[in-house]
């Protein structure tokens, strides 16, 4: 049964973000703030970068604020000022990406000012932006989210989170279904999914963690991955990505959202995250880790695979 989700707090969050952005821009704490703004179509949003305190009124937060803005802190920082602190609006999932990037020496904590948003969830898609947020339209990643309240941000709007209803069709359900398959069925499932891939690399472009200057998949001396959109190359690309994200992916699900071919990429990433949790008791969180699970050795690590 479809139930509405209480997002009455978003109005106050919007006001709070505006006041804080105005303050930090006016007193020189930051040189710019990256946030969300309205666009003409009702309910739709887009990222915005403001440097003028008067522009703070343009900022807002709603159930349509899907983007993970963290990508603007690494590779998409063309328009971001090079000097001074940068303020950025982050949901819980986005904040975990910031934390991950801090651990990978891609960001310095003193260079960013985090405006954390207490989040009751966002829409699954902006195709019909004026949709009401309910247990059906909510994004899959929000259905089992445990990080609604950002931890460790510089500023969090003083808004209490409304209780969330129980929700179905979560990634855990889907993973359980995958695991119930035989290896050959699972192979067929992913083969079919990856066969849809057109190698547009939107997933790579939108991912905060794909910050390499030259992706290993673009290398040609030697060529590691076939570059044309054919089955074998598609498989390699998605597997390389899954392995590279294992233990790092925060589940913001931007890859899945931007995929024009509707490949369930976050399903793969969630499954990898689950493996990491089971094998190394490691998952992306709000605490900066010096070493990721795949970059560290612990004598208690499971070695039963060595025979």
């Amino acid at each position: 049964m479809t139930q509405p989700i209480d997002i009455s707090g978003y109005t106050r969050i919007t006001e709070s973000i505006r006041t804080e952005a105005k303050r930090i821009l006016s007193d020189g704490t930051v040189s710019a703030v990256i946030g969300y703004t309205h666009v003409r179509r009702k309910g739709s949003t887009q990222p915005i970068l403001i440097t003028n305190p008067d522009d703070s009124e343009k900022l807002f937060f709603s159930e349509g604020c899907l983007n993970n803005l963290v990508v603007y802190l690494t590779k998409s920082k063309k328009d971001v000022p090079k000097t001074g602190k940068i303020g950025i609006v982050v949901k819980g999932c986005d904040l975990k990406a910031v934390v991950g990037l801090l651990g990978e020496s891609q960001l310095k904590r003193e260079d960013i000012y985090l405006i954390g948003v207490p989040c009751n969830g966002v829409l699954g898609s902006l195709i019909n932006p004026a949709t009401e947020l309910n247990t059906k339209t909510i994004a899959a990643k929000c259905r089992e989210c445990t990080d609604r309240m950002p931890v460790g941000a510089d500023f969090v709007p003083p808004v209490e989170l409304a209780a969330m209803p129980q929700m179905e069709a979560t990634y855990s359900d889907k993973i359980a279904k995958l695991e119930a398959m035989t290896p050959s069925e699972r192979w067929e499932f992913w083969k079919e999914q990856f066969s849809k891939c057109i190698k547009c690399y939107a997933c790579r472009q939108v991912c905060a963690f794909c910050y390499c200057e030259q992706c290993v998949c673009d290398r040609n001396r030697p060529q590691m991955v076939e570059q044309s959109p054919r089955p074998s190359g598609n498989f390699s690309w998605h597997l390389v990505r899954a392995i590279h994200l294992a233990g790092r992916c925060v589940g913001c699900a931007e890859c899945e959202r931007v995929c024009p071919m509707d490949i369930p990429l976050n399903l793969l990433n969630r499954k990898m995250a689950m493996e990491m949790k089971e094998l190394f008791n490691s998952e992306a969180g709000f605490e900066v880790r010096e070493k990721g699970p795949l970059n560290s050795y612990d004598e208690h690590d499971d070695e039963s695979f060595i025979r």
């Binding site: 990978e104 020496s105 891609q106 910050y211 390499c212 200057e213 992706c215 290993v216 990721g292």
Partner: protein
């Protein structure tokens, strides 16, 4: 265009028995880029090497592939050979068609095909080899010796006598090790203390030796010629510089009933103690677990009586960093005990011998203390339970050793000789006593060893019974020994007053942890592994680290001393040069691709990865990238495997080379 020479070795018959070497050579000569291919019986021999050198000059070869044994064995040999005729040594590669092919296959046709493919892969790889300049690093001409037993002492004295500084680290409060505990030594029966203590004093007084007793290795960084070793000097609670060794503190200490570990818990000692009267340094240690001052905060008698004021209850552990160029590991052994082992342990205890709960069942080292003039009984053989002189003593050999079902399959090597010695010592001290020895077979090779063993039987009246003991149990004040005599095929039962077990020699507890700090390998029993069982018996696979004594495997004193001197000789060879040449197989960062995630630094076991700033001409910081210090890099390739954007390459093993090898298949 490459002009590659391919040289196929028969390795006597090791390779040619299973691989058609002529066919491999003729096929290889058709590979693109190959200018010359031939086969020869022993490529590593002098004529074999000459053949390669001649071919390089005659056929103007640009690269060389030698298809023979493992590169671990002869890569250096062949690289040196090509260097002599002006080729960069790193343009020579080996294809392993022995360990990887002929030794593991039986079918000649298939093995030949595989050998051809292995050679083909190496031909493709060598084409992409680059000229690599040799890296030279300075050598710190100081050595570290870990362990102050006879092995460590001998190695340290030899190196120090050659004029180099030595840092010796000993875990216990005194040097001396096990040899200081022994009574008399085989095969000459000279007193162990009499030959050991002068060496201990020599060591302490040597101007080139710095001795850290009651200290342990905390951390080892660096590489051959340039190690940085952090030593934890444990708090002695006594100032070594002030203490005169008068010993009044020990006579006044009220805690007098602490079991003396040096005497195998037979005697007692005080809480402030030196392990034995001849200890070097003669500076006591406070055993903080048993000291009244540390337990209750009240006492301090030793502090009051100490004239020079050497007692310091507030002393803390200190960390010292010593730069050294070479390390000799001489951590020695300990004896297996028959007590119950934890569940799941691969090594089992001896329930049939009472799991160590029968007081008059002792091990060989305890017997040494009983027989020692400086021991708890003053050299009288008295059994631990009631202090009576035993009239019937049963010695049991191979307890733990050579019994796969108990978890140890190796021979402990020293027990046959020391048991024979024990029967003699016993016979000398208890004239009306009888010694029995249960043994499987006598393993007594060595100069004057067999004569010694025969003497025990023929002149000293020990009764040797060939067979094993199935059970020991207490009956009144006797121990019933149930065994078999297989030479006559009967069951034997002896009521003994004392039973001495020749228990297995095992590496020291914690040997594995030290090995991990040093980065050296060890076997399943935690004995340290030498680089080659026959040709490199004192070197570790890790360059600059050498082995001496029983930490590598069971050894008697003559063998231990020989190996210690051999290790010292290796160290001196290393120190004979001011600079060290090392292989330029190191990782390089492609700085224009590196994004500075420093995953490489996180996985580098050698601390070789540093941060480097990339700045533009105005001096503005553009980005931070990883930089591999070629002096520190060990060429393991972990960074290369970890780098998500493949911005690190290991010279000689680049991705391009590996892919070329795969594509040649």
């Amino acid at each position: 265009m490459s002009r590659i020479g391919v040289f196929i070795c028969h390795c006597g018959e090791n390779i040619s028995r299973t691989v058609d070497v002529e066919l491999v050579a003729s096929t290889a000569s058709q590979f693109p880029g190959v200018a010359f291919a031939t086969d020869y019986k022993y490529m590593c021999s002098d004529p074999g090497q000459s053949l390669i050198k001649k071919a390089v000059s005659e056929h103007r070869l640009t690269h060389v592939v030698v298809a023979a044994c493992s590169p671990r064995m002869h890569e250096r040999t062949f690289r040196k050979a090509v260097e002599q005729v002006g080729l960069n040594p790193f343009l020579c590669e080996m294809a392993n068609i022995r360990e990887h092919c002929s030794w593991v296959h039986e079918d000649r046709e298939e093995a030949t095909q595989k050998a051809i493919e292995i050679v083909g892969m190496l031909v493709e790889r060598v084409k992409k080899n680059r000229v690599l300049p040799t890296i030279t690093v300075p050598v710190t001409k100081r050595a570290l010796v870990i362990g102050g037993g006879i092995a460590g002492i001998q190695a340290a004295l030899d190196i120090a006598d050659a004029g180099h500084q030595v840092v010796l680290v000993e875990r216990e409060p005194s040097i001396g090790g096990h040899m200081a505990q022994l009574s008399e030594t085989f095969p000459t029966l000279d007193c162990s203390q009499c030959i050991m203590t002068p060496k201990m004093v020599d060591l302490a007084n040597h101007p080139n030796i710095i001795m850290h007793t009651y200290s342990e290795i905390e951390q080892v960084d660096g590489y051959i010629g340039n190690f940085q070793v952090t030593i934890r000097k444990k708090a002695r609670s006594v100032d070594e510089n002030k203490c005169t060794g008068c010993g009044i503190c020990m006579t006044k200490c009220p805690q007098k009933k602490i079991p003396n570990i040096f005497d195998r818990n037979l005697g007692t000692r005080t809480a402030i103690y030196v392990p034995f009267p001849q200890a070097v340094p003669n500076v006591p240690v406070i055993d903080r677990e048993n000291c009244t001052m540390f337990k209750t905060g009240k006492c301090g008698v030793c502090q009051k009586v100490c004239g020079p004021g050497a007692i310091d209850f507030n002393q803390q552990d200190t960390l010292i960093v010593e730069p050294v160029g070479a390390i000799v590991v001489a951590t020695g052994f300990e004896l297996y005990d028959i007590t119950e082992k934890p569940k799941g342990s691969p090594i089992k205890g001896y329930g049939e011998f009472g799991h160590g709960k029968i007081p008059d069942v002792i091990d060989g080292l305890t017997f040494e203390r009983l027989a020692s003039a400086s021991g708890p009984t003053g050299g009288k053989i008295l059994r631990p339970s009631d202090g009576k002189e035993p009239k019937q003593v049963v010695f049991i050999q191979c307890v733990g050793s050579r019994s796969r079902e108990k978890g140890i399959s190796y021979c402990s090597k020293i027990c046959c000789m020391y048991t024979a010695k024990h029967t003699m010592l016993y016979h000398h001290k208890v004239h009306d006593g009888q010694a029995y020895v249960f043994f499987m077979d006598a393993r007594v090779p060595g100069k004057s060893y067999d004569e010694f063993w025969r003497r025990a039987i023929e002149e000293e009246e020990a009764v040797y019974i060939r067979g094993m003991v199935s059970r020991l149990y207490q009956k009144g004040d006797k121990i019933v020994v149930m065994g078999s005599d297989i030479s006559v095929g009967v069951q034997v039962e002896i009521e003994a007053d004392l039973v001495v077990l020749a228990t297995a020699v095992q590496p020291r507890k914690g040997a594995d942890a030290l090995a991990q700090k040093l980065g050296i390998s060890y076997d399943k029993y935690h004995f340290y592994s030498e680089a080659h069982a026959k040709l490199k018996p004192v070197e570790c696979a890790t360059a600059g680290i050498y082995l001496a004594g029983a930490c590598q495997g069971p050894k008697d004193i003559p063998d231990t001393v020989s190996q210690a001197s051999a290790a010292a000789a290796k160290v001196m060879t290393l120190f004979s040069k001011d600079k060290l040449e090392r292989e330029p197989i190191v990782a390089r960062v492609k700085e224009n691709n590196c994004v500075g995630c420093f995953a490489c630094r996180k996985v580098c076991a050698y601390g070789a990865v540093e941060e480097k700033e990339i700045r533009d001409r105005q001096g503005n910081l553009i980005k931070m990238v990883a930089y591999v210090n070629p002096g520190v890099c060990a060429g393991c390739g972990t960074c290369q495997a970890t780098c998500p954007s493949k911005s690190v390459e290991l010279d000689g093993y680049t991705d391009e080379q590996i892919v070329a090898m795969i594509e040649a298949l």
